[in-house]
Symmetry: C2
Subunit: 305 residues, 2 copies
Amino acid sequence: MSSESSVVVSGSEPGGFLARARAIVEAELNRILPEDTVTPASVHSAIRWSVFAGGKRLRPTLLLATGETFGAPAEHVIRAACALEMIHTYSLIHDDLPSMDDDDLRRGRPTCHVRFGEATAILAGDALQSFAFQIIAEDEQLSNKTRVRLISELARAAGTPAGMVAGQAHDLDSESRKISGDELEIVHRKKTGALIVAAARSGAIVADVRDRELEIVSDYAGHLGLLFQITDDLLDVTATAEVLGKTPGKDARSKKATYPALYGVDAARERAAHVHERACAALERIDRPTPLLRTIADFIFERKT
Amino acid sequence: MSSESSVVVSGSEPGGFLARARAIVEAELNRILPEDTVTPASVHSAIRWSVFAGGKRLRPTLLLATGETFGAPAEHVIRAACALEMIHTYSLIHDDLPSMDDDDLRRGRPTCHVRFGEATAILAGDALQSFAFQIIAEDEQLSNKTRVRLISELARAAGTPAGMVAGQAHDLDSESRKISGDELEIVHRKKTGALIVAAARSGAIVADVRDRELEIVSDYAGHLGLLFQITDDLLDVTATAEVLGKTPGKDARSKKATYPALYGVDAARERAAHVHERACAALERIDRPTPLLRTIADFIFERKT
């Protein structure tokens, strides 16, 4: 890393990486997002309310971790990491809307539309999506070629037919009927998996890895995304509202298809262990140390919130 | 233009340009948007419903016209033109939502959420925004540098604090109170002007014009955007529902700030003539023939729908 670098993530032990990554992502988001006093203040307040709601920052952390694993300087990946978090936050704001999942509470606080009204929440999500692409397009640390690759990657992961919006549409469509385990996996691969895979791949793209390594990263992150969803479903059954920051048991009441509902809690736990193992097995095929990526897999597997 | 070019817009007379531009934009949109049978079919049907609702294609036509004026091959600007129309269409879908402008009818047909439900309409808009950035990022006719410039331009015009979303937020915020003529102009410069300016600039950017010419194009298009809004406001007062394809008089009933409401119909007409003149005056400063850009200014000034 050059002596000018203002962003330092790496340290001696991978255990501290998650907290450090989260801190630098939040500092950078705070620096680049418009202040909530800037017109239109309603939209910017709503954006900051949702972006700084205490999220785990999984996607940007994963992007920073892949970047560091393959040797990209942290200041080359930080903007892309923030863009990923913006896309993720926009999707949470829109998914919570009354016509979608109709959630009043997220991370222990009123959701964006409850706090600011539906119109402002929709606009805040829309603006966050534009801003995500803007900051990558204007990231002077990156070559034009890399920016274009990252934008293509992110846009495909966010949209249809293979990305997040497609997954959310499929999920809404499946609420009223019984779906199979295979179909559930397709929904989750799009709804949460695509953006998690894009996060991991983006770090590797900035580091300009070979295609073979990019494939392995995709394999690892695909399992990570699935693991995240299974543990999410399990927490909805087993955690308390206080720990979760949202109303648990909601999936069951809305008769939503989940891993515990389809397979039972014990089998869902076994499935999580299997998927965690597969993610770690992918890492074995990378010709360099991968402690950070291993730490992230363990963190998701063991998470309590 | 090379012999491989499949896109031909120019012809002997500028009068036919508008119809030709519209036709090639619609053909290209039809080619690149997912079929409505592709999963998620609901979202793709909603996208096609709104994209092919018979719009004027003003923004992509303007982009093609600026490109042609400055010598960019038509096949170099067609994808960017489609991206502009996608951003515009996403904004119409979201603006029509019940929590926003609550419009049931657009271009003579039920609006997207009336036809497909609110959730699908929100997702269709979200997917269109992602897709717009994707097709520019993946446009192999353009250098990476040009793609990055276009994405930055489009993202700024679409988002906040200076773009479309900011204008819509300001507009919603001003519904309940009296605003001045100056404030009204700020709203429209952001809400409709920013994307019209971005359209014109994008054609010039693809043609790699000098900064001086880009400034003139911005000046021309800024007046064009304002002209569009004034004539839009006037049509709401003077046109019939049959011609307009939506309910006229809605602005007055919702006590929305408009040019006729602020200045009266006659003064608003005079203002339109003045702004039209300013747009045309900007064109005089361009060192090459500009019949297409003149035709577009005349078209907006004289439009009946």
